[in-house]
């Protein structure tokens, strides 16, 4: 290849990867939240306040690191060999991870896909690589819901379940930002509602009392438990339905209004005196769709 091959080949066609890895995604972008909509005209501002508080807590803190290890020190030293020891601050910046749609249908334990470059030796070029998690199907049992479930799972979730001392504890303890799956949020909602409504083992009252004492600290009022783990789209639909029902309850149908007016008119006329109405009989007035009289043949 000649020396000026770079002019012939454009910059976007040189590397084997035709696109760059995605940029650093902000916390509120990853969860599809627009925090400026919580204040202002719109449905999002009318959502219940305990729900908005939970979403802000979701965004405020960073999730637990999964595919990288943070350094707990504050400062490090640079250029020790030359004798000019400088103190350099350490900032733990996360590795950007991509979570596909299949992660919402399983419990991957915070794992995802990482796209980057690697090189085996220093004098070589870096080549692109996709690091993927090992996912397999596994059966898990939940005491509160009293059922076995087949879930796509990684080795990390099994270690986290042992850390939390139980599958139910794992789902109730971990926050949404660490679960990272809609299935986990849905199970959390079911468990919290079952604990509040006391709809656990319906045929076994002894076990119901044992579990209610075991999971005492996780009980939340029912109004808040219905809104735990919902995405903003689902919450908007729920809020609109609630508002529509309230509107219909407040409204009175027109039929009732017209009947009341009719009754008033008739009462006034009976008091005044009976007389034929100019517009015809009463039934002809309120029969707009009158069929035309057929001529007798």
């Amino acid at each position: 290849m000649c020396a000026s091959w770079k002019k012939l080949v454009p910059h976007w066609a040189r590397s084997p990867v035709y696109y760059r890895p995605p940029p650093w995604v902000r916390n509120w972008e990853a969860h599809h939240i627009k925090p400026w909509k919580f204040v202002g005209p719109g449905v999002v501002s009318r959502l219940p306040k305990h729900y908005i508080k939970r979403k802000i807590e979701l965004i405020s803190e960073e999730p637990r690191p999964v595919h990288w290890e943070p350094i707990n020190k504050k400062y490090s030293v640079r250029d020790v060999t030359t004798g000019l020891a400088e103190r350099v601050q350490i900032q733990n910046i996360a590795i950007p991870v991509f979570y596909p749609e299949q992660a919402d249908q399983g419990l991957w334990g915070g794992e995802g896909i990482v796209q980057g470059y690697y090189r085996k030796k220093l004098r070589r070029r870096s080549s692109p690589k996709l690091w993927k998690p090992k996912v397999f199907n596994f059966f898990l049992y939940s005491e509160i819901l009293d059922r076995w479930m087949e879930i796509a799972i990684t080795q990390r979730t099994l270690d986290l379940i042992d850390e939390a001392l139980g599958f139910d504890n794992y789902i109730l303890k971990t926050h949404e930002r660490d679960l990272k799956s809609q299935l986990g949020n849905k199970l959390k909602r079911e468990m919290l509602l079952a604990l509040v409504r006391k709809s656990l083992h319906p045929s076994n009252p002894k076990k119901r009392e044992e579990l209610l004492e075991k999971y005492k600290e996780f009980i939340i009022p029912e109004e808040e438990a219905e809104w735990v783990g919902l995405t903003i789209k689902e919450a908007i639909i729920k809020q609109l339905n609630i508002e529509k029902i309230q509107e219909l309850k407040n409204k009175t149908p027109l039929q009732d209004i017209f009947v009341d007016e009719l009754v008033k008119e008739l009462q006034e006329k009976n008091e005044a005196g009976s007389s034929e109405l100019p517009g015809g009989s009463i039934f002809e007035k309120f029969m707009p769709f009158k069929t035309p009289e057929k001529p007798s043949t």
Binding site: E111, N137, R147, D159, D162, L165
Partner: protein
Amino acid sequence: MRGLVACRLCSPLFKDIQSLFVTQMKKQSSSSKVNELKSNYLEKLQEKGLGQPSASYVLKRRYPMRLVKKGSVPFFKKKNYVYEEVDKKKMEKNMGKDAKTAPVMEKEPPMPVILTRDVLGLGVKGDLVFMKKNMARLYLLPVGIAVYSTPENRALYPVQTEPEPDPEAEMLRFKTLSTEKMTEFLRKMNLYIPMSAHNDWTLTTKHVRIAFRWHSVVVPEENIQLPAVAITGPNTELQPFDIAVKVKEDIIVNVRSFIQPWYNDKEEYSQEIEAIKELKQKYPPYLKASPEVMELQRERQEKDHTFRHLLHCSPSIFVKEACELALKKHFAELQGKDFKEEPSFKFKIFLERKDHPKWRKVVMSKVMNLPAESL
């Protein structure tokens, strides 16, 4: 030698038996020295930060990132996406090889677990046992036989110093593992005693001893006890009866036995093949069950589950035990007796997981000879 039964799993000499099973007891035992070594190993892992939950891959940046002001977004270059892999399992393995105080090194670090009741081969209620992680997650924890080891649970299940007095448990408390295996083998087996179908005969201990020999079991005649009602004559109707075998002075096992008619000529045998087939359908071998048992299993239809993935263990062992227990119940009900026998350790767990879809489908498919997809 008196009071002994040698099994084909054991060697014929008594001394060799002891040496074989003492080594197995060391591996399975939860002695104090082994527990100390394993707990020290786990503490060392946690000091180095290695015993924590793992991920499929752990990465590290080759080139560090630029510092970032508060509230702003970090600036990424292509070199900031160059990563290196970090192997944590190698670090755990190397730690075990170098350390002489942790000779019990496995591929995965073990998990401490407290037992809530007596378990054959593992220990007594309240014992701290170090198990492999998958064994505990699949067999012990979801069923309630074991519990995670926390200071709260250690107070709930303290170590027993004096055993509870149970007359049934005293019969079953074995001193060596050889007697455990012998009694399980004798409980599971079906004894077929070949007797002639032409001549008159009465059952004696000699016939039973020879029949046991066909099944690779050596029993002296002193330890055999026939039923009270003597069995006589050329009997082609196969009905089971129990024979008591003395394994030790305190331990007696009832072995279910049948009479197998032995024909001299093939012509007579061929004439009665149909009768034998009918009898085998009534009292079939391991993998088939009577239609009454199959109906009982069909009645246990609960919530629908779907499964595509099989666990590591093979269910053939559980299928045998399941059918035997069902048959024994069936026979006990016919004779009007009470059924008190208990299954083995692993099968108990398999039974209690009644909601597990694998048990239901695999057992029913083999018992009913139907494909699992139709269930």
